[in-house]
Subunit: 125 residues, 2 copies
DNA sequence: GGTCTTGGTATCCAGATGGTGACCAACCTT
DNA sequence: AAGGTTGGTCACCATCTGGATACCAAGACC
């Protein structure tokens, strides 16, 4: 079904800017989910791969939130066997631009961010 | 001391996009504080005005967080009488751009946001 | 018939977030 | 001397967030 390459398991490794980013989108996992859906619909089990430490509960919760707010659509196929696909709606897709702006900002100011915070990497407050 | 006009008390009224914005910066008040400092340093008591419902504890908390992460500087003057001024650092100032991008996005997609979320205005998920 | 995969749900719990209300010392004004 | 302003702090409490763990039903596979 999916001809696109699978999501790389290390997509959000420790060095990912989002770990230090003072900007947040939705709940903890929302921005990562959106980025995973960037180039097409993905299945629940596909999403679990790059999000390594996410628990099913947390992922479901995040997806439901995104769905409730119209950023993501959920489609169930029972064709040959059960398949659930999550995809960005046009509204969801429109968030990619400001999300990218935040990411650009983070990578540009990465060193300053690390220098500025007293006591090394802690919380994001 | 401050020749600039004072902050308008209605700066963040109910209709302010930030109430529906799925993007967040720091804690609840951080993005509003940053916007208040946009055109120059402000005193603690000045900041309390547009932030209507903020309690001193919450404001202090937010400012300390912004300070800890290098976005805001805190300067105490004891000249004639006590005065504490908060100002954006260059790093803090650099967040204005992505913050504005998020605001532009919100105003552009305002109607879609309202339509998309089921059950009217609730939480931000 | 037993097991695997898929797509979840139920329950519990710790810690973070955020609000309320009281209080406070230093300084200024009246 | 009394009261207001400034810039906070402290204790308490409710809620939200997010993680751990266990479990589960439907279909495919062996």
């Amino acid at each position: 079904m999916t001809q696109r390459p699978p999501l790389p398991p290390d997509l959000f490794d420790e060095l990912c800017p989002s770990s230090l980013l003072p900007f947040r989108f939705g709940d903890k996992w929302a921005s990562m989910v959106v980025r995973c859906l960037e180039d097409g619909p993905r299945r629940y089990s596909e999403l679990r791969v790059p999000l390594g430490r996410v628990t099913p509960k947390a992922l479901t919760q995040s997806l439901r939130g995104l769905e409730r707010n119209g950023f993501v659509s959920r489609t169930v196929y029972a064709d040959p066997k059960l398949r659930v696909e999550y995809a960005l709606t046009p509204l969801g897709r429109s968030t990619l631009e400001p999300l990218a702006a935040a990411c650009r900002w983070a990578t540009e100011h990465w060193d300053e961010l690390l220098d500025a915070r007293e006591g090394g990497i802690s919380s994001i407050g």
